[in-house]
């Protein structure tokens, strides 16, 4: 989706403002949102790509206004309803419906360390032929899907070089929509800054983007 989340190359967003001695969470509720997202994710009713897609689906003005954890909260509410863990009425009232069965959470305090250590492995041990070789010149495809994609706008139509083949990974563009993992090769593609931004960029600078087979075409 050509959404406002796809920010690479945008201007006029103001200066970067680092905060001294920044706490991990600024408000208690921020930590609760993070934890609720991770603990709810343990039901495996969605994947990380669907989560990102839910955040990107926030309307642009809201997306820019909201803090990071406000976006997480909005996305979590949507995911919980859309994936059937709670009903819209329950979200709005904060109270379980009368017929709601009480279930057992998949994540307990004891299993948190294991769950974090297990992580979110998205490489796949399946045979998939690499469409590109290290050193090959490639072009970011000129595609504009209305759904989720990890191909940033600034790389579309641009020439780059395959620097590394990371092996076979889940393809987020389909996985986000529960349309299958479509495992394929993931590459590190080097784009010269001048190819992306023209003469204003320094001659030796480069942007490296992780892109999948379906994002690229031979140059």
């Amino acid at each position: 989706m050509n959404g406002v989340h796809d920010m690479g190359g945008m201007q006029n967003m103001g200066p970067v403002q680092p905060e001294k001695n920044e706490p991990v969470f600024h408000e208690r509720w921020e930590g609760r949102v993070l934890a609720l997202m991770l603990a709810s994710g343990a039901w495996r009713k969605w994947n990380i790509d669907a989560m990102r897609c839910a955040i990107e689906s926030i309307a642009p003005a809201e997306y820019l206004r909201m803090s990071y954890y406000e976006k997480w909260l909005a996305a979590l509410r949507e995911l919980l309803v859309k994936r059937g863990l709670v009903t819209r009425a329950e979200i709005e009232s904060g109270i379980p419906e009368a017929c709601s069965p009480k279930v057992t959470p998949p994540l307990s305090a004891e299993t948190v360390p294991q769950a974090i250590a297990r992580g979110n492995p998205v490489s796949r041990d399946v045979p998939a032929a690499a469409r590109f070789k290290v050193g090959q010149r490639v072009r970011g495809r000129n595609i504009h899907p209305t759904g989720h994609t990890r191909l940033p706008r600034y790389a579309r139509g641009k020439l780059g070089t395959v620097e590394r083949d990371h092996g076979v990974f889940v393809f987020p563009d389909t996985n986000a929509h529960f349309l299958g993992e479509k495992p394929q090769h993931l590459y590190s593609v080097r784009f010269a800054a001048r190819e992306l931004w023209g003469e204003q960029a320094a001659p030796r600078d480069a942007v490296y983007v992780n892109l999948w087979d379906d994002h690229l075409e031979p140059a």
């Binding site: 920010m7 920044e22 993070l34 990102r52 329950e90 904060g94 307990s108």
Partner: protein
């Protein structure tokens, strides 16, 4: 109901129809309401939430990454393994899992400077740096890091020579980056632990260099 600006937050459109105590707009109240709903339905365990928050407040943070960097500075064989396979070498120190299932370490040299960003969301190497600071998640940083890295670095007080090659790594996949900063001159006699104490979070993102000055107040 069809105002797209509120497509994600239908309750906001209906505030006037509801009891406000049931439809809190303050994020803290909304999170409280959501948590109580999920706990009551048995979808999440409050003790698991506490354990998750404790993990990211106290256990997983930039000190992890600093240990990796210091080890690489004192152990050439480790550094070689680290640059060849970041995931495996960092795993030797016991770090990995969520937000670090796949790690690539990029080395700063006198001629090359690396900078990490996620233009599409806020992907960050949680396993070695903990949760990201607000500026890393800000529109200002996400938009400009790729098109104006020198301008962004200047805002952090880092001016690089124009001959330096800046490599910007846009984290578009589940592969996360860690910058291996240059070891500061004059640090030959320092122990691995003393070296680790000099390494800041910002240096491992690539917006600062490591210096011999005690990093007080500097993340």
């Amino acid at each position: 109901m069809h105002d797209p600006a509120h497509a994600q937050e239908p309750h906001q459109k209906n505030d006037h129809e509801h009891d406000h105590s049931l439809v809190p707009s303050d994020p803290a109240l909304r999170v409280k309401s959501l948590e109580s709903l999920l706990v009551e339905k048995g979808l999440v365990d409050p003790a698991a939430l506490d354990a998750l928050i404790d993990t990211y407040e106290h256990k997983i943070g930039p000190r992890n990454g600093a240990q990796v960097v210091a080890r690489a500075w004192v152990d050439a064989a480790f550094k070689k393994r680290l640059l060849a396979n970041g995931t495996a070498a960092i795993g030797e120190l016991g770090f990995g899992g969520r937000g670090g299932d796949y790690l690539q370490v990029v080395e700063n040299t006198p001629s090359v400077h690396n900078l990490i960003v996620c233009t599409l969301c806020s992907c960050y190497p949680w396993a070695v740096l903990g949760l990201p600071p607000i500026w890393y998640k800000s529109a200002a940083y996400r938009s400009r890091a790729v098109i104006d890295p020198r301008g962004v670095l200047r805002e952090f007080g880092l001016e690089l020579p124009k001959e330096t090659e800046i490599r910007i790594w846009d984290s578009t996949a589940e592969l996360r980056y860690l910058v291996l900063p240059e070891r500061p001159a004059g640090s030959d006699k320092l122990s691995e632990d003393d070296l680790a104490a000099l390494v800041t979070r910002d240096a491992m993102i690539g917006v600062a260099k490591v210096t011999l000055a005690k990093p007080e107040g500097r993340p």
